[in-house]
């Protein structure tokens, strides 16, 4: 009887798990499978989950610069995301070390001020920032996006790095100072090497945010040569490039770098996030 009950429970568990996974995965399966479907299969009804006659023609189209500006958008996203997260991480390393280890008047106020940023969504900032960017002559430049993305990711980066720095035993740093190291040498020789996984994770977090961003890009960027992936792909959706297979291939290629990066640091990022969430 007990055995019986256990089997029934296991079956219910497996069914529920399958339902959850189906809900999560069906959009991905659709995306990948349609990217391999030839055009005449796209509009079949009833829809088929898998391509009958798979083809790579859409990927060839997407990667051919004469057909589709995907590679230009990809390059722009890469440049903006790489530079903004690189600079952002350096600023966050200095800032969070200051929060974690150095006493100065006003530290508490600054820390609370940084947390307050959570209360302001991008949509509240886009109008004044657009006006400021235009006045400064930065409209339609990569700089406008890089600066904006650095600020958008800074609070979480500071938080995650600060928490990590506090786990490094202070005695190690003190010993180095007694041995004649300056604070900056301590950061360079002890804190940075010990925090490498945290720093890489924060870089990847900032990279993902920049790679994903649509709102500011759509307002700050105008010329075709500077468009990032979300902006460029969304606009192509409403033009003659509206070929389902090709859009799906472009979506897959846009998602792959981010998913690979995320999976490589999943443990650390989710750990940092849950800690952050539970704390506040």
């Amino acid at each position: 009887m007990v055995e019986h009950n256990k089997i029934r429970k296991n079956i219910i568990f497996v069914i529920l798990l399958a339902l959850v996974l189906a809900f999560v995965l069906i959009p991905f399966i659709t995306m990948i499978s349609s990217s391999f479907k030839p055009n005449q299969e796209q509009n079949l009804f009833p829809p088929k989950l898998f391509p009958q006659d798979p083809t790579t023609v859409h990927y060839e189209g997407v990667l051919n610069p004469n057909v589709f500006p995907f590679l230009t958008y990809f390059k722009n996203s890469l440049i903006v995301a790489f530079i903004s997260s690189g600079i952002g991480v350096v600023i966050a390393i200095f800032g969070s070390y200051s929060f974690a280890r150095l006493e100065f008047t006003g530290r508490g106020v600054v820390q609370r001020g940084v947390l307050l940023v959570y209360m302001f969504g991008g949509v509240l900032l886009v109008i004044p920032l657009f006006q400021m960017i235009t006045k400064l002559g930065l409209f339609d430049t990569r700089t406008s996006l890089i600066v904006t993305y650095i600020v958008q990711t800074l609070p979480v980066s500071l938080y995650m790095l600060g928490n990590y720095f506090r786990t490094i035993p202070e005695e190690i740093e003190e010993a180095a100072i007694i041995d004649g190291c300056s604070r900056l040498e301590v950061i360079w020789r002890i804190v940075l090497p010990l925090s490498a996984p945290a720093i890489v994770s924060v870089f990847i977090y900032a990279f993902m945010i920049a790679w994903n961003e649509y709102l500011f890009a759509s307002v700050f960027i105008n010329s075709e040569a500077l468009k990032t992936l979300p902006l460029g792909l969304n606009q192509l959706f409403f033009t003659q490039h509206y070929i389902w297979g090709r859009m799906m291939a472009a979506s897959v290629l846009t998602a792959i770098p981010v998913i690979v990066l995320f999976l490589s640091v999943e443990r650390f990022i989710t750990g940092g996030l849950t800690f952050g969430g539970v704390k506040g």
């Binding site: 568990f13 995965l25 959009p27 995306m31 966050a92 509240l124 900032l125 604070r183 846009t254 969430g277």
Partner: protein, 288 residues
């Protein structure tokens, strides 16, 4: 040693300076500037001076039927998605809070919707929701007969809000799941063992042990998701621009109609509303 402390303090200020300048210049100053703009008739050319008109935008907005419609859409969108992401996250976290082979892989898969770029996820869902050949209509209409006819999920003003809500829940429940699962795993097993000895049922264990332990994380999740979804723009606009939540309404007022002053005033109203909600929630519901 005091020399050392002084040097540390000076270094601390130098190291935090870039952060302070960036956040002051690109977050706090713009918020103030937004209030300034909301009190002016803003010229389309940013180099021409704006004319002060006081609270006129605010009077116009608060008597505008379109604004209240958009406000209503925002409240419906936020309320349903907050409930949806939290409950689904809770359910899936409870489901996965046991040992079974392949659990780390399943956990990784469940996080995928949350980390995939919005633009990719949106295209996948647009395909599913396609009125002619989409899987959604096929399942709901042709297979299960839950709906009488094919629905234009993306473009119809009446149904697109459902598509946007489902998409938002799909994308954001993994975050709630992750937080709740972490908290569930930190609950001591001895509590449950003691409850079983005392003859507590499954439901009683959930109600008297699990739920109180989750109170803090659930409270934090609800308030964060409420703030984030009130300000949510891309996930709504990219899937269906016909769902006019307030951020979409603001965006179109500013960048399609070039009415920057009025758009800035709507942003200010949205901000005050969200702040009011936070204060009410923290005092009355969370009792912090």
């Amino acid at each position: 040693m005091t020399g050392m402390e002084e040097r540390d303090a000076r270094l601390g200020i130098i190291l935090i300076l870039p952060t302070v300048l960036l956040i002051a210049g690109l977050i706090f100053y713009p918020i103030g500037y937004n209030i300034f703009l909301s009190l002016h008739e803003v010229n389309m050319n940013p180099n021409v001076a704006n004319s002060f008109i006081g609270l006129e935008h605010f009077f116009n907005i608060l008597t505008d039927f379109d604004f209240w419609n958009s406000f209503k859409t925002s409240v419906i969108f936020t309320a349903t998605t907050v409930v949806g992401t939290t409950l689904l996250g809770l359910g899936v976290a409870i489901l996965l809070n046991r040992k079974f082979p392949g659990r780390p892989i399943v956990r990784g898969i469940i996080l995928l919707p949350y980390v995939t770029p919005v633009i990719s996820a949106v295209f996948g869902w647009k395909y599913l929701f396609n009125p002619v050949f989409g899987m959604a209509n096929y399942f709901l209409v042709d297979l299960l007969h839950l709906l009488p006819q094919h629905i234009n999920w993306i473009e119809s003003p009446r149904y697109s809000i459902y598509a946007v809500i489902i998409f938002n829940i799909w994308r954001n429940f993994p975050f709630a799941f992750l937080m709740i699962l972490a908290e569930l795993q930190s609950i001591s097993q001895t509590l449950y063992e003691a409850a079983v000895v005392d003859g507590a049922s499954r439901w009683q264990q959930f109600k008297y042990i699990t739920l109180p332990e989750l109170k803090f994380v659930l409270g934090a999740l609800i308030i964060l998701r409420t703030i984030w979804n009130f300000y949510k723009f891309s996930e709504v606009y990219l899937l269906s621009s016909s769902v006019e939540v307030l951020p979409v309404y603001i965006y179109e007022k500013a960048f399609a109609n070039y009415n920057f002053g009025e758009a800035a005033a709507i942003s200010a109203i949205l901000f005050v509303f969200v702040m009011g909600f936070i204060m009410f929630y923290v005092r009355k519901v969370l009792e912090w």
